[in-house]
């Protein structure tokens, strides 16, 4: 499979702040990639660079085989709506829908109409007066109706109600079925969107913590909980991503293969373990403190 997007050791600094530090990953054509990580981990920065709206301080990004920055033929293939997209003050929905096709050669009116109806976006209200969720709805209309080979969705869910989120998923997959495309989607609503992704990239403090096929990424990750001593015996000196301790009980998230002997010993020690969900894994990578963190809240009560 060819790669639609290739990110090669991209570093982006703003003054002294290193927003991205030698980030590398690739997105195969027609993949749906989940770009995950905490606030400030670099998700929007890398998206802007892929979209050609920003340039890396060093390193290189190839989108459909070209550097997107100031390369019009490549930019025409990309749809990117920022999570804080601004519109001219007096704009209403129809103004946006009228100019959108100028920027999107594959624009599809039917998709746009079905979505604006489904999202119940008010047609007559000036856009600046719309709610957060309604603004997100417009961003999704622009993102999906563009039918761009490269569709970048930055936090598409902000403020969206549950019905609208389900509609978005359904429309995304339905329209993808008709017109496959490469999709990069960043979000914090991991549990809800995890099943959409065939690939994931987890960013942590500007670096890539995890990158690959979702099934592979989760294959060796698990959560274990039991008494402090039992868990400590099972883990021995192997690396742990996150550890939570309350009194004598500990739960950990880790990513290394468990052999059968360890599993049998775990059962004897009454330690439970289960495969980690994508959400568990992202939360674990985001917790910089892997040492024992005693929760004090309970004691205060």
């Amino acid at each position: 499979m060819t790669n639609a997007i290739e990110v090669h050791s991209v570093t982006r600094t703003y003054g002294r702040v290193r927003a991205l530090d030698t980030v590398s990953f690739a997105v195969p054509e027609h993949s749906i990639l989940g770009l995950l990580g905490r606030n400030g981990s670099g998700k929007t920065t890398i998206m802007s660079i892929i979209a050609g709206q920003d340039r890396p301080s060093s390193g290189q990004v190839d989108v459909l085989g070209h550097t997107p920055f100031e390369h019009a033929p490549t930019l025409a293939q990309i749809s990117y709506v920022r999570d804080n997209q601004r519109y001219p003050d007096d704009y209403r929905l129809h103004h946006v829908l009228r100019i959108a096709p100028d920027f999107a050669p594959n624009w599809n009116c039917d998709v746009a109409e079905e979505l604006t109806d489904g999202f119940r976006i008010p047609a007559k209200t000036p856009i600046k007066k719309l709610s957060r969720g309604q603004l997100s709805s417009i961003a999704i209309v622009l993102g999906l109706a563009s039918r761009a080979p490269i569709t970048l969705l930055d936090e598409p869910y902000l403020g969206l109600d549950v019905t609208a989120r389900a509609l978005f998923h359904r429309m995304l997959l339905h329209d993808y079925g008709q017109h496959p495309r490469t999709i990069v989607l960043s979000t914090h609503l991991i549990e809800e969107s995890a099943s959409l992704f065939d690939r994931v990239v987890i960013l942590e403090q500007g670096g890539v913590a995890m990158n690959g096929d979702q099934d592979d990424v989760l294959a060796s990750a698990w959560v274990m909980s039991g008494t402090k001593d039992a868990v400590a015996e099972l883990v021995a000196d192997r690396p742990v991503l996150q550890r939570n301790t309350v009194g004598g009980l500990t739960s950990i998230t880790a990513d290394f293969a468990l052999d059968d002997a360890t599993r049998i010993r775990a059962r004897d020690l009454r330690v439970q373990f289960a495969p980690a969900s994508l959400q568990d894994l992202v939360a674990a990578y985001g917790s910089s403190d892997t040492d024992s963190t005693d929760v004090k809240v309970a004691e205060r009560a």
């Binding site: 749906i32 359904r170 997959l173 339905h174 995890a194 099943s195 992704f197 065939d198």
Partner: protein
């Protein structure tokens, strides 16, 4: 719908296999397309394709070019064979473990199985 409990493509493949064993899709009838599975279960079409490919490799489904995916003749037998080897590990082992913990002896366990069978 597919959360936790192993890779999503495996869960969907298991689900389709169970539908075939239960007779929802009979042999030589068509199953939904990967795009339909993707939209219905809200999963990536690439993941849905992976599930279907797994069942094709196992000889459970086959592709009629330009028409769609069909259940192969003998698919149920093949699935029974595949799944029986898993049955002991997945179901019998935890059952025996739990029974031991509750001090349920072999005879009591057999009685319970008989009672379930009568339902």
């Amino acid at each position: 719908m597919f959360t936790g409990g192993g890779p999503i493509y495996q869960q969907l493949a298991d689900h389709i296999a169970e539908d075939i064993m239960a007779g929802t899709y009979s042999e030589e009838s068509s199953v939904p397309s990967t795009n339909e599975y993707a939209v219905f279960y809200q999963i990536s079409p690439i993941t849905a394709t992976k599930s279907v490919n797994l069942l094709v490799e196992q000889g459970v489904l086959y592709k009629k070019r330009g028409i769609g995916m069909f259940v192969a003749t003998g698919a149920r037998d093949r699935l029974h064979k595949l799944r029986r080897s898993e049955f002991r590990k997945e179901y019998v082992a935890p059952l025996v473990h739990e029974a031991r913990l509750l001090e349920i002896n072999r005879r009591q366990l057999a009685e319970m199985i008989d009672q379930e069978n009568k339902k």
